[in-house]
């Protein structure tokens, strides 16, 4: 179980004016800027649950994951993962946890993946039988068996991500943090990773937090989503409930000679607004739809939660 109470994280950074003058000035005085990456967030996740953490760039998703995986210390607040305080980094906790960051390599670049796996086997003290089973299971499910003896730096982006997943899951973690695991992958590789993650979740039932900018990842894997905006949670609930939050609205997709745009319109204003759009624009095409999950999430991220 994961419990987070009033967790805050503030980062400081230096600000430099552009240009050479700014560079000289910064040698003597620098402006320090503080940013609240997390503003007193609360969260509870039950064993076996998988949640999607959604938010714009810089909203605080990765910061939360870094704190829960023990890499970064919070400024204040409490958090426990399976009873452990993550940033104390006890070996018992780290043996049961995995973090996969889509944009960072954790396996050794100059060696074939199997060499890295052998070291991880010793670090995590994985029994031989479990190691053998997991290598077979993960390599087959991810369809990467033939690439395990090739230097990691020579693999494609998709293959590297699969190898990262294997490395992170070899020790059967009970908690998994996935930070944009499908970033930069082509559509078929994204799909393969999603299928694998679903299969893994079904077989081993870990607690999983997934962040992704791809809604397909969230829709296929996460029955529950948490939306984070500027360091605060603005929605925590089921994915299916999200659409009903804008049940009173319709989305008009309009294509004119010059542009394509979307507008959300309350249902009772549909007729008058459509009429107005036709009068003001040279409309080529017009679609009236229920808002998609993407539309609703975008709206929540922009405006916060709106009651139906």
């Amino acid at each position: 179980m994961i419990q987070v109470k009033h967790l805050r994280k503030t980062f400081t950074s230096h600000v430099k004016e552009p240009g050479l003058k700014g560079s000289f000035k910064s040698l003597f005085s620098r402006e320090v800027r503080t940013k609240d990456a997390l503003k007193s967030v609360n969260l509870e996740i039950n064993p076996g649950e998988i949640i999607g953490l959604i938010g714009a760039n810089g909203a605080g998703k990765t910061t939360l994951i870094k704190i829960l995986s023990g890499i970064v210390h919070p400024s204040s607040g409490e958090a426990t993962v399976m009873g452990y305080v993550p940033w104390e980094r006890s070996n018992e906790y780290r043996r049961q946890m995995a973090l996969i960051m889509g944009q960072k390599n954790q396996v050794w670049w100059d060696l074939p993946a199997l060499d890295s796996f052998l070291l991880l086997k010793e670090i995590y003290q994985i029994p031989q039988a479990q190691y053998k089973y997991n290598i077979e299971f993960l390599a087959e499910t991810l369809m990467i068996k033939d690439q395990l003896k090739t230097q990691v730096r020579k693999l494609s982006l998709g293959e590297r991500m699969k190898v990262e997943l294997m490395a992170a899951l070899l020790h059967n973690p009970k908690v998994i943090f996935l930070d944009e695991p499908t970033i930069g992958l082509d559509i078929s590789a994204q799909k393969a990773v999603r299928v694998f993650l679903r299969q893994y979740q079904t077989e081993f039932k870990p607690i999983t937090i997934l962040t992704s900018h791809y809604m397909e990842d969230i829709k296929e894997l996460c029955p529950r989503v948490v939306i984070i905006k500027e360091g605060q949670f603005v929605y925590d609930g089921s994915l299916s409930n999200i659409q009903s939050m804008m049940g009173d609205e319709k989305v008009l997709s309009v294509t004119t000679q010059d542009k394509t745009f979307k507008v959300s319109i309350p249902r009772h204003e549909l007729s008058s607004k459509t009429h107005q759009i036709f009068e003001e624009n040279d409309v080529l095409d017009l679609n009236i739809q229920d808002p998609s999950i993407e539309d609703v999430i975008e709206s929540i991220m922009r405006n916060g939660v709106r009651p139906t």
Partner: protein, 267 residues
């Protein structure tokens, strides 16, 4: 098998992964440094019109400059900025996730490189003594070589702790490249890497006596050449051991505070 043995095996595989780099480091670098030093000292000896300076003949000087470059590599292990660079790039994160001590891990990888260079010194020095210097290579000489390599290892353990201490400053200051270069320069100059320490003024030698520097390069190199007494070696071992304890305690203290600063940002 214990994890550290796998780390050693893996780091050795990394060293051996690139063939050309391996041979350039193994032979090219050592020979070039030796030839340059030999040529410079030849000029100095000729200009002074002497056959011995501060207890060194030209042949002894050549031997010294065969040992010192490889010895410095044993000392400086993995590479400059081995920790600071990872903190700066955010790749340090990986070690925080593993269920083991990050410093044990980093020290193991560092000393693996030292071990590789020690093996290099063993081979090159033996070949040089037998085939190039064509001098008798007795059991005593071989014993001196092994004792010197042992001292280089103790020196490398001291140096890695000093380096860790300085590189951890990057948790606060991001880029500590200049400090790392300064440490290298001080070690090389006051350790006997640039010139034998007997060439320094006596007051400088006295001032350095209780610091770790004279025991990092000069003592192991002189031991290999058979110029150190057992008393000097014992004193060196004792002083380095005390400094290791002091540096380990400082590393723990700095890490305790510095880990709060780590943000895991980078490339």
């Amino acid at each position: 098998m214990k994890w550290w043995r796998h780390v050693v095996a893996m780091e050795l595989r990394k060293i051996l992964a690139y063939r050309s780099d391996f041979w350039i480091t193994f032979l090219g670098q050592t020979l070039i440094q030796l030839l340059v030093a030999r040529a410079l000292w030849q000029m100095i000896f000729d200009a002074q019109g002497v056959t011995e300076m501060q207890g060194f003949t030209l042949e002894m000087m050549s031997l010294y400059y065969l040992i010192v470059p490889i010895g410095t590599r044993i000392l400086t292990g993995e590479s400059v900025g081995f920790l600071a660079r990872e903190i700066y790039e955010g790749t340090f994160t990986r070690y925080l996730l593993y269920p083991l001590s990050v410093f044990q891990y980093k020290t193991t990888t560092y000393l693996t490189y030292s071990m590789f260079y020690a093996f290099q010194l063993l081979i090159i020095y033996t070949l040089f003594r037998i085939f190039i210097a064509q001098a008798a290579f007795t059991f005593t000489d071989f014993g001196n070589l092994l004792m010197g390599i042992g001292l280089f290892f103790l020196a490398a353990t001291t140096y890695v702790m000093m380096a860790l201490l300085i590189e951890m400053i990057s948790l606060w200051a991001d880029n500590v490249w200049s400090l790392i270069v300064m440490l290298r320069f001080f070690t090389s100059f006051f350790g006997g890497g640039l010139i034998p320490l007997t060439f320094l003024p006596s007051w400088t030698q006295a001032a350095l006596e209780w610091t770790p520097f004279p025991y990092l390069i000069s003592l192991p190199a002189r031991t290999i050449m058979g110029l150190s007494t057992l008393g000097e070696m014992g004193k060196g071992v004792l002083i380095l051991s005390v400094w290791i304890i002091v540096f380990v305690e400082f590393v723990k203290l700095v890490w305790k505070r510095g880990q709060h600063k780590y943000t895991s940002v980078g490339i």
